[in-house]
């Protein structure tokens, strides 16, 4: 009897297996601070036995401490024609390490990975739709994937993101030595102790107890501050096309030969049309302008991502027939058209994005980037063409691809160059105007604004908006003016000069506030900046101002008849390493005041210790932009 009981007890212990190492109590307090999630283990084992074969085994053990950490938990694995999931399972444990539930492959749902842009792509994912029943909990997630693509090896970082601690993380790559593994370490400076071991056919990285960091305003992107190791094979395979990448020159040659060379054919009729269009023109820039305009009018951007199509552009003759394509297709089509009239241009790979200027790693030839533009070499330097836009002016790339390292693919090889940096002098916005205030406090005025550089980029779309949308945009732009009504809008887009003009007539009831029989209002009505960065009591990361700009304005203000100035703001001048600010309020005549303002913000990377002085600079200028005058009946 006793032995039966014992064995039963033993059995129940086995079935309700408790994994003490997954208990939440064993997590050191230091890892719980600032963390919604603690990654207990992140283990990635990559095996590459041949150029066309790679197996990735991943095991992650994640403790989600609270509801806010749930969105971090990613229980999905991608698959496609060349990427098979051979194992996928998950087990969830409670705070004491007691198993709550386990999930097998059949519990995972197979879904299409919608990227929000493509009308079609063939990427799919298996994912587990998990609803937690208790916090904290620990999820053990294991997958095994085999793929014939060896062009991308996932990078490794000891950090998993903001508000996430990592107890243990390691990654090992075992590979056939002839494939030659390249490794690049960045930002290896003290944020975590990293162990590295290497043999002739393997490499591994490991780190322990990396505490969670908080996101800080104006921090550079993740890849600019956190340690990351990038891996790539010199001899790889991309969708069953073999490639080599010892350096960018060779990689570019491979790219051209395998992905571009056989896509250039243009139908004879179109060739004839293009030749007629170009006529006797010899200047390559003028020719390129004509062809760029032709492409802008003929095509539109439509993304379809299928198999190698995710990497190889659609044939130029297909684009010619269908009149649409993605960035690769449209860029390559423009290139092919230019080639038919003897103008060289280069297919150019870039990491596109407005919020960050991400470079292609200069000394690390590999498949990188997420977008393609066209580069036109001229005797005055490179001209960059964004071929997916039907509205962008010729040679104006805007803030989507500016100021970063990109890869030019030429038939004889590739090279890394930097795209245009728009300076604070380029990005200029000049406002001139006047307004009058009535005795009832109503504002009535006009402004004209001229924008260049990236300021042009930010505003030129207004011309294609509906009247209602334009009004909506201006109400946001001048949100400091209550009860605003826009009486007239006159816009002009000079795409030759890349200059955008705006002419507005504005009215606002009660702009000046009646305070005990006196009128009070901010003199600087049209050119206010209220942006003040958030206060960080202590700061860990440096900060950056990604792009510089200049704002200048001169506005004449007419006071109501019979009023005199009781008190007037003094104006201020600030000169800092971040830029300069000056605002003046000059009395012109007894009822006329001129408000003159100039703000220059410089592009820059700054040490964290300077954050508070930058914040103060913005705060002071925001306050002065809104400084008020008091006028009273004489």
């Amino acid at each position: 009897m006793k032995s039966v009981f014992l064995s039963l007890f033993f059995l129940s212990l086995v079935t309700h297996a408790q994994k003490l190492e997954y208990a939440t109590l064993t997590i050191p307090d230091s890892l719980k601070q600032n963390a919604n999630v603690v990654v207990r283990l992140n283990e990635v084992l990559v095996n590459i036995p041949s150029q066309k074969e790679m197996v990735v085994k991943t095991k992650t053990v994640t403790t989600v401490l609270n509801e806010l950490g749930l969105s971090y938990l990613d229980l999905s694995e991608n698959h496609d024609k060349n990427r098979k999931i051979t194992k996928i399972e998950a087990v969830v444990y409670d705070a004491f390490g007691k198993e709550l539930k386990s999930f097998k492959r059949k519990d995972f749902r197979d879904v299409s990975v919608a990227d929000g842009v493509s009308i079609f792509n063939d990427n799919r994912a298996l994912y587990l739709d998990y609803t937690p029943t208790v916090y904290p909990f620990t999820m053990v997630f294991e997958t095994e994937v085999s793929t014939s693509n060896t062009a991308f090896l996932q990078p490794w970082s000891p950090m998993e993101g903001y508000l996430v601690s990592v107890q243990k993380s390691n990654m090992t790559i075992t590979y056939k030595p002839e494939l030659k593994l390249k490794v690049k370490e960045i930002n290896f400076s003290g944020q975590a102790t990293i162990e590295k071991t290497e043999t002739a056919s393997s490499i591994s990285y490991a780190a322990k107890n990396v505490v969670a960091r908080k996101r800080e305003e104006l921090s550079p992107g993740f890849a600019k501050v956190f340690p990351i190791v990038y891996f790539a094979l010199e001899n790889f395979s991309l969708e069953n096309v073999e490639g080599t990448a010892t350096n960018w020159a060779e990689f570019g040659k491979w790219y051209y030969q395998s992905l571009l060379a056989d896509t250039e054919e243009i139908p004879v009729e179109t060739q004839a049309k293009i030749k007629q269009l170009v006529g006797d023109e010899k200047n390559p820039i003028t020719i390129a302008k004509l062809i760029y305009k032709y492409v802008q009018e003929k095509t539109r951007y439509v993304s379809v991502q299928v198999g190698i199509g995710g990497w190889k552009p659609m044939l130029a003759k297909e684009v010619d027939k269908l009149g649409y394509g993605d960035c690769k297709a449209l860029t390559n089509y423009t290139r092919a058209l230019l080639k038919t009239v003897g103008v060289d241009s280069y297919y150019t790979v870039v990491y596109a994005g407005r919020d960050d200027t991400k470079d292609l790693q200069e000394d690390f030839a590999s498949v990188q980037g997420n977008h393609v533009i066209l580069t036109l070499p001229t005797d005055k330097g490179f001209v960059w063409l964004e071929c997916t836009s039907q509205v962008q002016p010729f040679g104006f790339q805007g803030d989507f691809t500016d100021d970063r390292n990109v890869l030019l693919i030429k038939p004889d090889g590739g090279s890394i160059v930097k795209t245009k940096t728009f300076t604070e002098i380029d990005n200029k916005r000049i406002l001139k105007g006047n307004y009058s205030i009535s005795a009832e406090g109503h504002l009535k005025g006009q402004v004209t604004i001229v924008s260049n550089g990236l300021q042009y980029d930010a505003h030129f779309n207004k011309i294609r908006m509906s009247k209602e949308d334009q009004i909506k945009v201006y109400k946001e732009e001048f949100s400091n003016i209550n009860n605003l009504s826009i009486k007239k809008i006159n816009l002009s887009d000079n795409s030759q000069a890349v200059e955008f003009g705006e002419e507005l007539a504005l009215e606002a009831e009660g702009y000046a506030q009646n305070t005990g029989g006196k009128l009070m209002f901010a003199l600087n009505a049209f050119d206010q900046s209220n942006y003040v960065p958030k206060k960080h009591k202590s700061r860990e990361f440096p900060f950056q101002v990604l792009r510089g700009y200049t704002e200048e304005s001169e506005v004449e203000i007419v006071l109501p008849e019979g009023y005199i100035v009781e008190a007037k703001p003094d104006g201020i001048q600030l000169d800092t390493e971040f830029g300069s600010y000056k605002i003046e309020f000059k009395v012109l005549t007894s009822n006329k005041i001129l408000c003159a303002r100039k703000l220059v913000i410089k592009k820059g990377q700054y040490d964290k210790t300077k954050y508070e002085s930058y914040r103060k600079f913005r705060e002071t200028l925001a306050k002065n932009d809104n400084s008020k005058i008091i006028i009273t009946k004489a």
Partner: protein, 663 residues
């Protein structure tokens, strides 16, 4: 109407084509040359016409199957209209017993004007994409070739469905203008549908009954023979023209609720020589048909699975209210919502109870079943959530959610246990959609008001003093009641104190917060109370030797949220509410009060909203009591001007300054 159900052998009828003004394939040069829409110059594209016709085909095996033919002609005026050239047709693939819906692209062309000639490009198979979205939906996408500014695209397709209990929605209003829309249904007399109109544009409707017939192949022993089925069909025609574009504005519920469309639901089947079979003519029928479904009625009756837990929960001396509270809190804390909607269970209440995870129906059925077993009178309430639109007519498909009403004496207490921040009579915001349908045990049903009966309060007490530098420091006690407490709990419960402080510092520019604490996050019997000390450097303006300050400091609303000139649809505040401030502000040493704002009270017509601003002072202390009431959750577009004006007055009063003078 006498039913005829004749089967004749070997007789064939030819169909006659009806001449129509609007037809595909007739693109004119003037249309291609047109630069702007004649009635809406801002339109990026316009639907020249959209037509659809639903017909029925008889198969001996599966009976009547419906198919709908769509014809659409679209003009592209601007590059912003190119998205219409990637045309998506979603279709349902999630049936348990029926075949998937099926989309057949019959023809698709792009027309352009090249020089003086009209060119016509056909959509090739390479430009048609079928894609599974999830287990219920797939979509067919068509990328029209060579679309430019000025192009016209035409599409004809057929959508086939074996599910005749609903017809595809016919939407005829979009964010671009629609010049002409026409929908025709030819419904065999055996089926009676309820056609429902949504949105604000009403079509012209005509009805007709006409005899018709169709041939089908019938199996006779081992051979097939053609047979003819003759019957009457009801032809309904809906027409609308010049339907303006509907654009999204601030404070809206969900745009899909406002677009004009026609929705059909089967309400009666009347086969010859059979008793007519009602599907959903009245609320009784709707409820009956939902109740009959096992995943509703049967699931509701399950009881044993929670008996042991319930016994521990209910004490002898419990009042009805105690029981409701105990059971609700138990289910709310035990069960975890998988974020799936619906009024049918998926895996069943028993499994859901064991897993502690369930969909809406499972969680609220568990709640209902436990309440009943505890001796509380309780009923399911079918509702349509806010993003799902309103239930105007008796029909089954409009509901997408079920909650519980428990009866305590004269009062119905509404309960939804899917949300950890919900409480008795505090439903998640998604539930607050006018009214629901409460189902009694005998299948009878009645409408039940879902909207909160009283304004949810927010009360802020502030004691502050200004120093001679214009810096303000003080203490705040901020209380959130009812739905305000719900929102606070739903958004901020679980957040670290540091993050909550930073949230306030971000929201109110120029303040620094200390001694922050928050109470009653999980005590639902009490309001949420935030206490903190603050310092504000940005609230006082010093101009010359005077100080200017709003007694509401950084809480003053500086901008009118209603900026549009006109409003097409209602303003939706979610729930009625009251914002109340009690402020005591001490002025700096050496200053005197020059002026203070006048007290003021303003009310909107029909008592929709009001504010009261009372201010007084002693020598150096200013006292303000200020309250804003928004008495209705949804304010009709007719009142938009009044509302905008109300907020203008409100902003003026909130930003009005006290003037302090040195010496």
């Amino acid at each position: 109407m006498k039913l005829t159900f004749l089967i004749c052998l070997g007789i064939l009828f030819g169909s006659h084509a009806v001449a129509q003004k609007q037809a595909l394939g007739k693109v004119k040069k003037e249309e291609l040359m047109e630069k702007v829409h004649p009635k809406d110059s801002s339109a990026a594209a316009a639907i020249i016409f959209k037509k659809a016709k639903t017909t029925y085909t008889y198969y001996e095996q599966s009976g009547f199957v419906s198919s709908t033919d769509f014809e659409i002609k679209i003009k592209i005026y601007k590059k912003e209209g190119f998205s219409w050239a990637n045309f998506e047709i979603p279709y349902y693939v999630g049936y348990q017993t029926l075949n998937d819906e099926y989309v057949d692209i019959i023809s698709a062309y792009t027309y352009n004007l090249e020089g003086d000639n009209i060119t016509k490009d056909k959509v090739v198979s390479q430009s048609k994409f079928k894609q599974t979205v999830n287990e219920y939906w797939a979509k067919q996408t068509i990328a029209f070739p060579n679309v430019k500014v000025g192009s016209i695209i035409e599409l004809k397709y057929k959508l086939k469905s074996e599910n005749i209990s609903v017809l595809p929605d016919f939407q005829y209003q979009y964010d671009i203008p629609v010049n002409f829309a026409e929908y025709t249904t030819e419904i065999p007399e055996f089926y009676l549908y309820k056609g429902m109109l949504r949105g604000y544009v009403k079509p012209e409707i005509t009805y007709d009954v006409e005899p018709t017939s169709q041939s089908f192949s019938s199996k006779l022993d081992k051979a097939y023979a053609n047979k003819i089925l003759t019957y009457n069909q009801i032809v309904t025609n809906y027409k609308a023209k010049d339907i303006p574009a509907l654009k999204e504005e601030e404070y809206v519920n969900h745009m899909q609720n406002y677009y004009a469309k026609i929705v059909h639901e089967l309400e009666l089947i009347r086969y010859p020589e059979e008793e007519p079979k009602p599907i959903s003519t009245t609320w009784e029928k709707v409820v009956e048909s939902i109740y009959k479904e096992e995943r509703f009625g049967k699931e509701l009756k399950e009881t044993n699975y929670h008996f042991d837990d319930l016994r521990l929960l209910i004490k002898k001396d419990f009042t009805t209210k105690d029981k409701i509270t105990a059971v609700f809190n138990f289910v709310k804390s035990r069960m975890n919502w998988d974020e799936k909607y619906g009024y049918y269970t998926h895996k069943g209440v028993i499994k859901a109870y064991q897993d502690k995870v369930g969909n809406v129906a499972e969680i609220n059925f568990i709640l209902l079943s436990m309440l009943k077993l505890a001796g509380v009178e309780a009923y399911p309430v079918l509702i349509s959530t806010r993003e799902n639109g309103l239930a105007f007519f008796p029909n089954k498909s409009i509901f997408n959610y079920v909650i519980v009403a428990a009866v305590d004496g004269q009062e119905n207490i509404l309960l939804d246990a899917t949300d950890k921040s919900a409480d008795l009579n505090i439903l998640p915001i998604r539930d607050l959609n006018t009214s629901g349908r409460m189902i009694q045990d005998n299948g009878a049903s009645s409408e039940i008001d879902l909207m909160p009966k009283s304004n949810s309060k927010e009360v802020l007490n502030m004691m502050a003093q200004i120093d001679t530098q214009g810096k303000v420091s003080g203490k705040i006690r901020h209380q959130y009641f009812d739905y305000n407490a719900y929102l606070y709990r739903a958004n901020y419960n679980g957040m670290a104190k540091q993050s909550l402080m930073e949230r306030l510092e971000k929201k109110y520019n120029g303040i620094e917060i200390q001694e922050y604490d928050v109470q009653n996050n999980y005590d639902f019997t009490k309001p949420i109370i935030e206490n903190y000390a603050f310092e504000a450097t940005n609230s006082v303006e010093i101009i010359g030797n005077k100080m200017y300050v709003s007694p509401l400091l950084f809480f003053a609303l500086e901008q009118n949220p209603f900026k549009s000139e006109v409003r097409e649809y209602p303003v939706d505040f979610g729930f009625p509410n009251q914002d109340k401030f009690n402020v005591s502000l001490t002025i700096p040493e050496g200053y005197t009060i020059e002026t203070i704002p006048q007290p003021k009270a303003i009310a909107m017509p029909d008592g929709l909203a009001n504010f009261k601003y009372n201010i007084s002072n002693t020598e150096n202390v200013i006292q303000l009591t200020y309250a804003v009431d928004i008495n209705k959750a949804i304010i009709n577009a007719d009142y938009y001007d009044a509302l905008k004006n109300f907020f203008k007055e409100l902003v003026n009063k909130q930003t009005e300054k006290i003037v302090l003078k040195k010496g």
